[in-house]
């Protein structure tokens, strides 16, 4: 059985300056409760790996606003003017990666792969500094693994063993990040007994989950 914990306690164990993956796409499928705690406990100097920086006041956008992030690796920051502002003011460094590449890099980190070859971004600004390989006459970029100290994950359901099920488009980066974080914190809307999520419906096996936190949503 896993032990559940409070958001406050969970976040207190995270050091400043951690490299952190956070699930979600424009805030959908993001563990808001854990993010609120990061802000409340003022955990700074973070390196953030996430799809986008959402909007001010939403999802990881709250971490940006609170100036807790020093470096972000993401595919899109256009919807959060505060990210742009901090980037231009050089308060925050931003590494932009194509979305399909970003998720494969995280997958490599979690799946024990040394890298992956993608045709995406060949010949673009996003290829700068990356190794290029020719395979059967076609050019590919070699993209390297991304790992993190911490993964913050949002799930719909979590059973007593930590088995997770996500909901609709709130899935996005969550299951892949659950593989790539050294310590995995899951915020779940509903906690259910073992057996309530059938084996074929488990999206992330509980063996990957370290801490379970109940979200503020009633269920």
């Amino acid at each position: 059985m896993k032990k559940t914990t409070s958001a406050a306690e969970a976040i207190s164990s995270i050091p400043e300056g951690a490299t952190m993956m956070i699930g979600g796409f424009m805030g959908v499928g993001t563990p808001e409760h854990l993010i609120d705690e990061l802000v409340r406990q003022n955990k700074g100097n973070l390196t953030l790996i996430t799809n986008d920086t959402a909007r001010p006041g939403v999802g990881v956008g709250k971490l940006i606003e609170a100036r807790l992030v020093k470096h972000v690796i993401a595919s899109h920051i256009g919807t959060n003017p505060e990210t742009q502002r901090q980037m231009i003011a050089k308060e925050l460094s931003v590494e932009l990666v194509p979305q399909g590449t970003l998720v494969e890099q995280i997958r490599c980190g979690g799946f024990g792969l040394g890298g992956v070859l993608t045709p995406t971004a060949v010949g673009t600004l996003a290829a700068e500094g990356k190794r290029s390989l020719e395979i059967n006459g076609e050019q590919y970029l070699l993209e390297l693994p991304l790992k993190a100290d911490i993964a913050l994950i949002k799930a719909r359901q979590c059973d007593y063993y930590g088995n997770l099920q996500y909901r609709l488009t709130a899935q996005n980066f969550n299951p892949i990040m659950a593989m790539a974080g050294a310590t995995v914190y899951v915020e779940a809307d509903e906690l259910v007994p073992a057996g309530c999520i059938a084996p074929d419906d488990v999206h992330t096996p509980g063996i990957l989950v370290d801490y379970i936190i109940k979200s503020k949503v009633m269920a």
Partner: protein, 216 residues
């Protein structure tokens, strides 16, 4: 009919029954409403769903959104998946078509739509994967930006992909990029070829009689 509706209606005619289509945020999203339900087209959103459908009033679900974060509905038979699978569909050539907006397209049909260095750096999101590997790429955009040409001889913005897009649809014209350059195929109702040329920096080639866009 305003310019955006005209573009959306024309793009809708390119969509094959039963195909899998990704629509970008903004103007491209409008295309869906002009595709008849009986065409059984599957709309994908790269954040993780096939089967986007109408959203009945009051039935919003915070876990069901499109790539812009807007609330959407889904059809019976929809399928949800993670981002790795979603981009596997895109990169793996399983996506029949993507419709995207554009900042510039050049005479080789290459698209720039993700960054204006020093001014606006939104990021590429899924655009580079989509343009590189969707089977068909349609750029749907207003022909010029506040008087500035967008269909240019040479891009001065960074490219999204080295791949040549398949079709450009604007409120003035339908243009097909190919090996030889940009071929002017159609003009909008009431628009003259000279008008299109005046609003376009890149050379427009005419190989067959230019027809008038059909919109219904």
């Amino acid at each position: 009919m305003n310019d955006k509706e005209l573009i959306a209606r024309r793009v809708a005619r390119e969509i094959q029954p039963g195909s899998l289509v990704n629509l970008g945020i903004g103007l491209p999203t409008m295309v869906a409403q002009y595709v008849p339900a009986e065409a059984n087209v599957f709309f994908q959103s790269e954040n993780g769903i096939i089967g986007i459908g109408g959203l009945p009033d009051g039935m919003e679900n915070p876990s069901l959104s499109d790539a812009g974060g807007g609330m959407i509905g889904a059809l019976p038979g929809a399928a949800a998946f993670d981002s790795a699978f979603s981009f596997g569909l895109i990169r793996g050539g399983h996506l029949d078509m993507t419709v995207l907006g554009g900042l510039q397209v050049d005479s080789q049909g290459r698209l720039a739509n993700w960054i204006i260095p020093g001014e606006r750096v939104p990021g590429m999101g899924g655009a580079m994967d989509l343009v590189t590997r969707a089977r068909k790429v349609i750029v749907a955009m207003i022909h010029t930006a506040k008087g500035q040409v967008k269909i240019v001889d040479k891009l001065n913005l960074p490219i999204t992909s080295g791949r040549r897009v398949d079709l450009i649809v604007t409120e003035l014209a339908v243009i097909k990029p190919c090996e030889e350059g940009l071929i002017l195929k159609e003009v909008a109702p009431g628009v003259e070829v000279a008008e299109v040329r005046a609003a376009t920096e890149a050379e427009l080639i005419i190989t067959e009689p230019v027809t008038t866009m059909e919109l219904e």
